[in-house]
Amino acid sequence: MSRPRTHRFDTLSLHAGARPDPSTGARATPIHPSASFVFPDADHAAALFNMERAGHVYSRISNPTCAVLEERVAALEGGVGAIATASGQAALHLAIVTLMGSGGHVVASRALYGGSHNLLGYTLPRFGIETTFVDPRDLDAWRAAIRPQTRLLFGETLGNPGLDVLDVPRVAALAHEHGVPLLVDSTFTTPWLMRPFDHGADLVFHSATKFLSGHGVVIGGVLVDAGTFDWDAPAARGKFPTLTEPYAGFHDMVFAEESTTAAFLLRARREGIRDFGACMAPATAWQILQGIETLPVRMQRHVENARRVVEFLAGQPLVQSVRYPERPDHPDHALAARLLPRGCGAVFSFDLAGTREQGRRFIESLRIFSHLANVGDAKSLVIHPASTTHFRVPAADLARAGIGEGTIRLSIGLEDADDLVEDLSRALHAAGKA
C-alpha cells in the first residue's frame, strides 16, 4: 500500500513541538523564564507530582520552552522523546547514570571528544563506572571488551577529530546481541546527515552547542531515546534494575512497566534531571530552536563549503594528509557512502607536513578562521587538538586516535568558500616561510 504523507524533515525542523501561542497569538515559541508553574488545585498538584497528569511543575524537571526543543529534536531523530540538558557533557552523563551505577562498565570508541574521554576515563571511575576504549573500526575489539558488567556501548557518528565513521548497524547489532543499548554522540552529523536510530542505535545525544544551535552562542545538550530497546528482553534481563525494578525514590515505580517505549526517559527525567539537576535554561532552548529552524539549509552549506576546503587542502604541498571520509583514501570511505550519503559534515582534520612552529604560524596567520575550542559555528574555526581539546589524552591514545603534533582541526562555517580557501592559502604560505 502507498505510504501515508507525514511531515518531512525540513518542515519538522521548523514546526515540530511548536504551535502559535494560544493566549497571545505569538508565532515564535515563547521563552518561559518561570521557575515554577501554578497548580489549578491541590488534587491536580498531587497528580502532577505522582505522574498521574501531564504538565510542568518546576523548570529543573521540565519547562515549556525546553519541551518544544525536546520534541523537535526527538522528531528530527525519529525518537519517542528527549531531554534537554545543560550541556552535551550533561547529556552523556545523564545517559550513563540512568543505566548504571557503581560496578557498571562501558565499552567506548577511543575516537572521542576529549571531554567525553575525560568523563569516561578519569571521572566516572571515581564513582565505580569503568570504561574500556576500543578502536571504533575493530568489531572484534568491541566484542572482546564486553564484560558481564557492560551496560552500554558508546561511540561518535564521526570520531573526533579523525572522522572515524562509526559502523552503527554492526556495533548496534553487537550491543543487542549482548543485551545492552548503543549510545551515539551525533553532534558532528546532526539528524540532517544521519539518523542513528534508522541504523539500530538506541540512544542519541548532541552537544546542541554545535550545529543544532549553529551560531556558537549557547551551551546545551539533548538526549534522545529511540524507544526501541527492550529493557526486559531475555538478553537484557537483570542488567537494568533502574528501569525494571521498583524505584523507592518514586513510589516504587517500575519505569519499564510504566512506559513500554519511554522507560529510559522517564527515569532520566524523574531521577537524573531531578537529582543531578543539569537542566537547560529556557532562553538557551529558545536559541537552539532558532538554530534548528535553519538546520537543513545550514548543514547543506556547511557540507558544500567543507568539500571545497577539503579539495583545496588535499592539493597543497605543505599538507601531508586530509582526513575526510568522502576522500577515497579515507579508511571509512565506503562506510561513509552508505551511512552518510548527504555528506560527512564540516569538521575535519588535516596534518601539516612541517614543524610545530610552522603549525603555530599557520593558525596565527588565519584571518577568517577563529582559533578557539568549539565546532559547528556558522563562522569557521580552527584548533590544534594535541595542545588543547585532547591535551589530557595520553600520547599513545592520541596516536591511536590519529592525532599528531601537526594535526589541525577545522570547523567549516557558512562564509563564501572562496574567502575560506584564500584565507587558508595565505596561512599555508606564511607557514611555509616559517
Binding site: 500500500m1 502507498s2 505510504r3 501515508p4 504523507r5 507525514t6 511531515h7 519538522l12 514546526h15 515540530a16 513541538g17 511548536a18 504551535r19 497528580a47 505522582n50 505522574m51 498521574e52 497528569r53 501531564a54 504538565g55 510542568h56 524537571i61 521540565s62 519547562n63 515549556p64 525546553c66 519541551a67 518544544v68 525536546e70 520534541e71 523537535r72 526527538a74 522528531a75 525519529g78 525518537g79 519517542v80 522523546g81 528527549a82 531531554i83 534537554a84 529511540a226 524507544g227 526501541t228 527492550d230 526486559d232 521498583p246 513510589h251 516504587d252 515505580m253 517500575v254 512497566e257 510504566e258 512506559s259 513500554t260 517505549t261 519511554a262 526517559l265 527525567r269
Partner: protein
C-alpha cells in the same frame, strides 16, 4: 501484576498498588497493536485515587503470553475470565478502540460482572479498509504509519505532547512496532468482523460513557451515533480538536471524563 487467565499468564499494570477487595475495580483494555501503557496517566491516577486498576496487556500483546484473541466476543469473554482469575466480582471496564468494542460486548454478555463501561474512541461498525488489512496481514510497516497518521489530529501530528519532552507520532509508531508479528492483523480483523455492536448496545443495562474525538479519523464521531442512540443509560463527552489517540492528545480531558463517570 500477573494473572492466570485460561492457563495463560496475563500482565496487568496496577499503578504499583496491590489489589484491595474493598475498593471498586477498573479494567483498562487497549486497542489494536497497543498495550497497557496507552492508559499510563489515567490508570495511574485512578490507582492512586481509590480504585483497583488492572490495565491489561491483551493476550499476544506486550507482556502477556499467548496468541491475540480473534474476535471482539472472545476478548469480552476473556475479560470475564480475567475477573475470575483476579478474584474480582464486578468491575468497570474502560476500553479504547478495539477495547471499546470489547467493553461493550463484555457488558452485554456478562452483565453481572461489568458494572460500568467507558468507551473511548468507539465506532460501530468499526470497518477497516482492505488496503490496511492487506498491509497488516503481511506486517507491512506502512500499516503502522497509516494508523499513526490517522490516529492523531492534524495539529498534534506536529507535536505539542502534554507530557513534556515526548514526541507523540514517534511514540505511537514505536509502540505499534513492538507488536508481535501478525498481532495488528488479528486485531484489525476482530474490529472489522464485529457485527454485534447494536445488539450488544441494546442489551447493555449498566451506565455507559462514550468519549469521542471530534477529529478522530479512525473512529469518527458519526460512526458512534448508532451506539449512542441504542445505549439506554449513556453519557457522551466530545473532545474538541482531538483525534483517536485521545489518551495521549488530551490525557487530562480523558481522565476528567473517566473520573467523573467512574
Amino acid at each position: 501484576m500477573r494473572v492466570d487467565v485460561d492457563g495463560r499468564e496475563v500482565y496487568c499494570y496496577t499503578g504499583a498498588r496491590s489489589p484491595d477487595p474493598a475498593r471498586p475495580s477498573v479494567v483498562f483494555v487497549h486497542g489494536a497493536a497497543n498495550d497497557h501503557s496507552v492508559f499510563a496517566l489515567q490508570s495511574r491516577y485512578l490507582a492512586h485515587h481509590g480504585r483497583n486498576v488492572m490495565a491489561v496487556d491483551l493476550p499476544g500483546h506486550g507482556r502477556s503470553a499467548g496468541a491475540p484473541l480473534e474476535s471482539v466476543e472472545a476478548i469480552a469473554d476473556w475479560i470475564a475470565g480475567l475477573l475470575d482469575g483476579s478474584g474480582i466480582a464486578r468491575a468497570a471496564v474502560v476500553g479504547h478502540s478495539l477495547g471499546a468494542l470489547a467493553a461493550l460486548e463484555a457488558a452485554s454478555r456478562h452483565p453481572d460482572r461489568v458494572e460500568r463501561i467507558a468507551l473511548l474512541g468507539p465506532a460501530f461498525p468499526m470497518a477497516v479498509s482492505d488496503a490496511l488489512l492487506d498491509a497488516a496481514r503481511v506486517d507491512d510497516h506502512a500499516a503502522l504509519e497509516l494508523i499513526a497518521v490517522w490516529s492523531h489530529s492534524a495539529g498534534k501530528q506536529l507535536g505539542g505532547h502534554p507530557v513534556p519532552g515526548m514526541w507523540m507520532m514517534g511514540s505511537a509508531l514505536r509502540l505499534m512496532e513492538r507488536s508481535r508479528p501478525g498481532a495488528l492483523y488479528v486485531d484489525l480483523r476482530a474490529c472489522n468482523g464485529y457485527t454485534n455492536g447494536l445488539a450488544a448496545a441494546a442489551a447493555v443495562r449498566c451506565p455507559a460513557l462514550l468519549v469521542l474525538g471530534a477529529r478522530d479519523l479512525m473512529a469518527p464521531p458519526r460512526a458512534a451515533q448508532g451506539l449512542i442512540a441504542t445505549l439506554a443509560e449513556k453519557r457522551v463527552v466530545t473532545l474538541a480538536d482531538c483525534g483517536h489517540a485521545m489518551m495521549a492528545e488530551q490525557p487530562d480531558a480523558v481522565l476528567d471524563a473517566l473520573a467523573a463517570f467512574l
